[in-house]
Symmetry: C2
Subunit: 451 residues, 2 copies
């Protein structure tokens, strides 16, 4: 839906609400798809939201709460009467309820859980961190027994009314609830109704322990083209299932974190949208890196003071400082972004370290050569004289090669130290290149210009 | 599978190949899952790969070629005899075959197409750009007629042997092959076998025109939690289907492009892995930005020469130059990465422009204040004197506020101009902040220090 259409509908909705025409407002919202419902709903004032939510079909209200960010959903849930809130959460998917309950106070969570039909499904989900397999999984899955026939299984599916429309794979468990096989729905339909599941199930199953990191789950599902991933405890007992639509969200979330980190900040909290995150929280994610880089960058002052004599003798030297260190930083930022991403998608691993370094070294030599020629001509055009131009040109060559090497090595080193390589952000690269670049520049200048 | 296990298996595989024991090598590979097969296969020499591929079960060879990048797959296909190649491509999914055929010469593609069973399915796919809905879709889908009963539909599924195991939704078409409805497999199973599809199908269908951008397709599938997305022509005739596993790849690809662009380079070609991309190609993706930024950064030299008198009078002024412009660039990079990503995931849109600017302006004021205090103390600790410290401190305050504002405005401006906001990369931000930052610094210095 375009913003334009949404605006028009919003005007109608506001009109209905102003005339206290709740029925009209409800029918406007219920004509839309749930993500659009949530978008529209999001534009309303807090009071309007609280007034409207209990009036909608609980299934629609549940969809809307699932689309909103967790903090916003939790605020609404707390503002509703417990009866209304319970009616709605009963329609939500267990993993989404768990995410929201993790955001309200334990007392509020207890009130809601006490009234809910499926509280037993949800309690175990509350024990796991949000970014683990346990935090992602839903406890709503259909587990069949090995000696069931295909016909019985189809009957079980017909009787089962999952909240989510989609059935991916069906899980087969033994008497200890250990996961022993997977049957996909197509196999089941094609099979003779009297076949036992044990004879058609796939027994080589990819599953994850409940504590696995969400990034690892996303990696497995993307790599093996899985639509759902079973989550098991240490005894291989089936605890829940992660579905592909949750992984699509994880992939977006992880890419967001990588880009924010690469920009030189800690990732923003994921349970709030950007504009709902207060400026204090945003500033907090940025200030520590800004300070750390400031302190490191202070080294440039130390280097410059060390070469005070040269600066006094030839003030023209300082004209090139931002240009040189800027270009070094840019080359470093280009390299590290490529390497970080190649590591993240598994394009390279630590075993390719040497090969990667060699690759970037050669790229650096090529780019350095190219930039050196341009820098030489640029320096001449500023009437800086041949020797000055040579100094600038040689510095930029060395600096680009150095930045490319560093940009390749540091993310690899971070990976080897089991640190997220995206800490080697663009700002980190330029900061590291600045002080070393100045040192190279002034050393070359002392030699070539004889000062 | 861990790298360790893979290494062990690789040693066994190499051993078998050295003894010309092709049967042994085949059985080692066929014991693995296809992504692992591809990983292992990738480690072999080119000749080993060409020797082994025709010996494997054609379905396995097809899976391996699908996992490899397109250029690599195309090279192997050309190295095989046409008969072997045809036997393998016949087992591949149509969209994957089309990607590979787009990489070989038209003559080579024609030889393969001439021998293939499903050439008619593949030819239409060759007409669409790789990054459009048409390039992503597969022509392998099951289209049912409206007057069919649920029972007939299940029979049709049982007879249909798709190459991909997964059935997501079933499409219902009319006599003009126009898409008129969607039935999900669960509904079909639950329905009375005599019900007509027209009575159980969902008619509100989200579909895309064949020319849609892949990013838009990914957005729709993520937003509406779709497992497959029908692709239609201008008359709503059903042409193909995009499946969720392809979209997972698209999301990774788009995140990779964003991060590379944010690092200040054009994205690398996606049909080759990083280490298989030659250093010339890598250098080409970087050199244009490096040059453009170099030329823009030259402005810093112009500013510095303009203030030559001040630099002569107080050489200590230059000690702070990298520190000041570095911090400005870092603050700008932090901001623009947040805003670019918030725009990409739809967290903010153009209509939030003013709100976003106000948000970053306040964040900038907060961060600027914090950094100004630190900078003041740092400058004092270098014995720079009160006035110098004041100049540095005031500059950094203004610079951080300015960087944050610019970092918020430029991506929004790019979006308004329908340019990808990720062109406002970290390096672009620091380059823009450098010249303006110097101007602010020296202007303040002239006033405060009276030089």
């Amino acid at each position: 839906m375009t913003d334009k259409t949404l605006d028009d509908i919003l005007v109608q909705l506001r009109g209905a609400l102003e005339q206290n025409n709740l029925t009209g407002a409800v029918s406007i919202i219920e004509a839309l798809d749930s993500p659009d419902q949530a978008d529209l709903f999001y534009e309303l004032d807090d009071e309007e939201q609280v007034a409207l939510l209990p009036e909608l079909d609980p299934a629609d209200s549940a969809d809307i709460l699932e689309e909103l960010d967790d903090v916003h959903a939790a605020e609404l849930m707390v503002a509703l009467s417990p009866e209304d809130a319970i009616r709605i959460v009963d329609e939500m998917e267990p993993d989404e309820v768990a995410d929201v309950l993790n955001t309200v106070t334990p007392e509020q969570a207890e009130i809601l859980l006490a009234g809910m039909e499926d509280a037993d499904e949800i309690r175990p989900l509350l024990l796991h961190p949000d970014d683990s397999a346990g935090g992602l999984m839903t406890s709503e899955f259909l587990a069949l027994r090995r000696r069931m026939t295909a016909g019985d299984a189809i009957k079980a599916i017909q009787e089962w009314k999952p909240k989510r429309e989609l059935i991916y794979y069906l899980f087969v468990i033994d008497r200890y609830q250990t996961l022993s096989g997977i049957v996909n729905l197509r196999e089941l339909i094609v099979a003779d109704p009297n076949t036992r599941l044990i004879d058609i199930m796939e027994t080589e199953i990819i599953s994850v322990p409940v504590g696995s990191d969400q990034e690892h789950c996303a990696y497995l599902m993307a790599r093996y083209d899985l639509l759902s991933l079973p989550v098991v405890d240490e005894n291989k007992k089936l605890l829940g299932v992660i579905t592909i639509d949750d992984i699509v969200d994880v992939l977006e979330e992880e890419a967001t974190e990588d880009i924010q980190r690469f920009g030189g900040a800690e990732p923003l909290p994921i349970d709030r949208s950007y504009l709902d995150t207060s400026v204090f929280v945003i500033a907090r994610t940025r200030v520590s890196w800004l300070l750390l880089l400031f302190v490191t960058e202070s080294l440039t002052g130390t280097v410059l003071r060390h070469f005070e004599h040269q600066l006094q003798a030839a003030v023209a030297l300082s004209f090139f400082v931002p240009l040189l260190i800027g270009t070094g930083g840019n080359a470093g930022s280009q390299t590290t972004s490529t390497i970080i991403r190649a590591l993240a998608v598994g394009d390279i691993t630590l075993r390719d370290g040497l090969h990667t370094f060699w690759h970037e070294l050669r790229t650096g030599l090529l780019l350095g050569l190219c930039m050196a020629v341009i820098a030489y001509l640029r320096a001449l055009s500023w009437d800086s004289g041949q020797y000055m131009a040579l100094t600038v040109s040689l510095t930029i060559f060395i600096l680009v090669v150095w930045s490319n090497s560093l940009g390749a090595l540091l993310p690899l080193l971070a990976t080897w130290l089991k640190i997220d390589p995206s800490v080697v952000s663009g700002p980190v690269m330029s900061t590291l290149v600045d002080a070393t670049g100045l040192f190279i520049y002034f050393t070359l200048a002392s030699i070539i210009l004889g000062i």
